[in-house]
Each structure stands twice: as C-alpha cells, then as structure tokens.
C-alpha cells in the first residue's frame, strides 16, 4: 500500500498522522481528516476577510494556516500604488480563488474571474472545512434545499465560510441549518432532516414550497462558489445590494 495524505510510513508499516477516517483505494491508503484548518488547493473558491492593507496588496484570512496575499493586479480595479485602502479595508469580506501555492506555504489568490469579488451585505457563518461537502450536498442538493426553504441567498467557500444574505429571520434559519450539519455531519439522511427542520420552522405560505426538488439543480461555472438563490426570488445573483448591509463573523 502506498501512503497517501494523512499517513506516514516507518519500517514498511503505514500509520495515520491525523485524526480521521480511513480510506483505502488500492494502491493508495489515506486518512481523511475530521478536523483541522482549511488546507488550500489550487482553484478552490474561498471566502476571506481582509486582515491587513499594504501599498500594493491586501492580506486575507481565509481560515488557512497563513494569511493569503491578494495583489492589486489580481483585482478587476485600476489601482495606483497606495490606493489599495480605497477599495478594500480591514474587515471587508471577499470571494477569491486560490491561484498558486508554493512550498514555503505562501497562498496566492486572485479576484479575477466569474463570481469573484467583494461581498456587500449579508453575514458570514463558519463551518468546519471538513463539512463543506455536506453543506453543498450531492450535486448541490443540500444548499438548494436550504435556499428553497428559507428564501436566503447562500454561497459556500471551500474553506468552510458560508455567506448568507436575506432577511434576519431567513439568516437565522440558515444558521440553524448549518449548525445541524456541523453537529450531525456524518449521519445519513441529513438532507431530509434539514429539510423537515426548515419546513417545521417556516411560516405557512412560504415561497417555493411546491417547487419540485430538482427544478434549480444547475451548477454555475466551475470557478464560482456553490452559490444558490431561491428560485422564485428576483435573480439577484450579484453580490451588491443593501447599503445598510452588515458583516458578522460568527460560528
């Protein structure tokens, strides 16, 4: 057996190096971690928060071991050196794509591409990076269930940060649904349980209730985050919106 990620070999034996689930695909054996920070992969679309502003770049906290520099040439804006703080300030949230990684652990990100840019309004909820596949669901089923039942806009970054926009009631219900996924992520039938929870807490006459489940089963361009909007809502996929929008880092 070849030792894959999450394992190491000593004297012909393979041991786990992280806490996780064993996965055997001969000749590869690996351990899929159940916890830990987000480990960036090229082309991942992630949500980040600006932690520092320099003359030609910003530093983003994307939940990875290190802050990721976003250079001004990686944005759609025409910026003079020293004007970076007029575009993004500490605390702002952005959607970026991981472009390159180097062996010293430096994470290069870009904001050039479809679905990437600054986030206005909404709020951010953190889930464990290991839970992201469950939040999205098979073919996007979970996230579609959530948006259909709550009427909120939701975008999931590969780093476990979830952007939610909508009225406060909808945001609260999405938050509860995400908490359920975090706590019960390994059980089967999760989508159904989240669905019945959201149905139970929803007001009567909720929009989109009679929508067939696979109506909006489409995925955006591969570069875009797993974004999903309620089907009957005006297609406001663009992230600009309410001027009195607010940001909230929370778990």
């Amino acid at each position: 057996m070849k030792p894959g990620p999450g394992t190491y070999r000593v004297g012909g034996r393979v041991y786990a190096s992280v806490l996780g689930l064993l996965s055997r695909h001969p000749p590869l054996v690996q351990v899929v971690p159940l916890s830990g920070r987000y480990i960036p992969k090229p082309n991942d679309v992630v949500l980040g928060t600006v932690t520092d502003v320099q003359g030609t770049f910003w530093l983003l906290d994307i939940g990875a071991p290190r802050w990721a520099p976003l250079h001004m040439t990686g944005t759609p804006w025409k910026i003079e050196i020293g004007e970076t703080d007029q575009y993004l300030r500490v605390g702002d949230s952005v959607v970026v794509r991981v472009e390159n990684l180097d062996p010293t652990g430096r994470i290069g990100v870009t904001m050039l591409g479809e679905g990437l840019g600054k986030l206005e309004g909404g709020s951010i909820v953190n889930v464990a990076p290991a839970r992201v596949p469950r939040v999205v669901g098979r073919g996007g089923s979970m996230i579609q269930t959530i948006t259909r039942r709550t009427g909120a806009q939701v975008a999931v970054g590969q780093n476990g940060r979830v952007w939610v926009n909508g009225d406060p009631e909808a945001i609260h219900r999405v938050r509860e649904a995400l908490r359920m996924i975090s706590e019960e992520g390994q059980r089967t039938g999760l989508t159904e349980r989240v669905d019945s929870y959201l149905r139970a807490t929803g007001r009567s006459g909720e929009q989109g209730l009679e929508e067939p489940p696979n109506e909006s089963a489409r995925r955006d361009a591969p570069a875009a985050p797993y974004a999903s909007s309620p089907p009957s809502e005006g297609s406001d996929e663009e992230h600009d919106g309410n001027a009195d929008g607010w940001h909230d880092e929370n778990d």
Binding site: L19, P103, R187, E192, S196
Partner: protein, 249 residues
C-alpha cells in the same frame, strides 16, 4: 510544591504493599479525558486525573507572533503552561515563574519531536495548558491534555504522547505519584512516551535512585503510558463517534 512543614512524614507504603490512597505500586489514579471541551479553540481537551484538573487548548497552525520567532522550513511550537492561583492549597502567585517556564519548554520540545511541523512552514502551533487543580504530576497531565487537543485540532503528528510520573516512595518504585508521595518520597521521574516507536521524548528526574531502580522505574512508566494511551484514543473516539441515526423528527 507546597510547603513541607514540621509535619510527620506519612506512611507511604503499608506492610501489605498498599499506598496512602490504597493503590498498588503499579496502579494509576483514575483518569478521565474529554476531547473538544472548548468551543473557540482549534482543538482542546480537559483531563481529570486523580485530583488533577487540567485544561489544554491548541490554536493553529497560524501566523507567528512575535514575527521574529518564525522559521522558514517548519512551524514553531509554542507552549504556555500556567497554574491557576487557586490550583494549590496555598495561593499560587499568578504568572510566569521559573518552574512554569521550564515545564512550558520541555513540553514544547516533546511535541517538537512528534508533530510534523515541516508541513506548515512559517506558522505557529500554540498550546495553552491551564492547571485548575494540582495534585502532583501536572506536567504529565498537561502533556496528555495538550496531546489530545493537538489531535482534536487535526494537526498531523507521529503519535499521541502519553505521559506519567514514576518515582520512589516508602522504599518502593511506584507509578503515578500523588502529592504526598511526591513531597515526602525519595524520587520523582516524569516521562512521556511515543508508543509507535517506543522513544521517550520527555524524561526528568528529581531525587535519588540506583541504576537498577531506574531501570525498573522506566519499565513501570512505559507500562503506565500504554494504559493512558488507550484512554486518550478512547477520548478522541468518543468525541467524533457517530451516534446511531434516530428516527427523523
């Protein structure tokens, strides 16, 4: 630790071979480990071991503060061991002292030899150990707590690090000293084991033993560590266990 007054030295080993709390020489105190006890840390663990209560929290790998400690090829492991003012019967003056600095250093170095720090260059892995209640063996309890917390934080490493103190009291080599045995006994020998390789990554000694006694003590300690290792693994299993799916609500 604590003040040795003019009190009479207690009988540490009865003629029947029992210790002051009724244990045999090779018996551990009861130990309970809760993995993931804290919400905001990347990883955490709470250890109750005899009358010891120790909380450990792990953050990282994350940006290094202060920056000059950063290393270009690997993560730095920073450890802070602290005893609460109320952890002992006479109030402990809060803050850093020589003892806590030493313990922080030896624990950080023990983890340095098992954690795969090369996977995260220019970052820091920060370990915080808070002793809430002390009854001898807190560096071992802290190390055990920190080790479970590191695993809970998803940090790659060669193995968990079980640790225990062995020593000599009442003329006998005993496992897992409690406070009276530490204070009035003849020797104290805390150690930490890498079960996978059998290496010791922490070994300190206070007091006197013969070479033969040291050899016996090391064997006893390795045995003790293997027992604690099982408790540590079980704590992590319990934390991440999947409860059988109940009927959907």
């Amino acid at each position: 630790m604590g003040s040795v007054g003019a009190k009479d030295v207690p009988v540490l080993l009865s003629p029947e071979g029992l210790r002051i709390d009724g244990r045999r020489v090779n018996e551990l105190r009861p130990i309970k480990i809760t993995a993931g006890a804290l919400k905001h840390a990347d990883g955490s663990a709470f250890v109750e071991w005899g009358a010891n209560k120790v909380m450990a929290a792990v953050y990282g790998p994350r940006e290094v503060h202060p920056r000059h400690l950063q290393q270009n090829t690997k993560a730095v492991i920073q450890c802070k061991y602290n005893m609460a003012a109320f952890s002992v019967d006479e109030r402990k003056r809060p803050g850093l002292d020589r003892r806590s600095q030493e313990i922080s250093k030896v624990i950080a170095e023990a983890f340095d030899s098992v954690v795969f720090a090369e996977e995260f260059p220019r970052t820091s892995i920060d370990i915080y150990i808070e002793v809430l209640q002390a009854n001898a063996g807190t560096r071992c309890a802290g190390l055990v707590a920190a080790s479970v917390a590191l695993a809970d934080a998803g940090i790659p490493m060669a193995d968990l690090l079980p640790a225990v103190a062995v020593g000599k009291a009442g003329g006998a080599i005993i496992l897992d000293l409690k406070k009276e045995e530490d204070n009035f006994g003849e020797a104290d020998l805390p150690m930490a084991l890498v079960p996978q390789s059998g290496r010791l990554v922490l070994l300190q000694m206070e007091g006197h033993m013969t070479r033969e006694e040291l050899a016996t003590a090391l064997d006893l300690g390795v045995q003790g560590c293997r027992g604690i290792y099982e408790v540590m693994k079980q704590a992590l299993r319990d934390r991440y266990a999947v409860a059988p799916a109940e009927a959907s609500a």
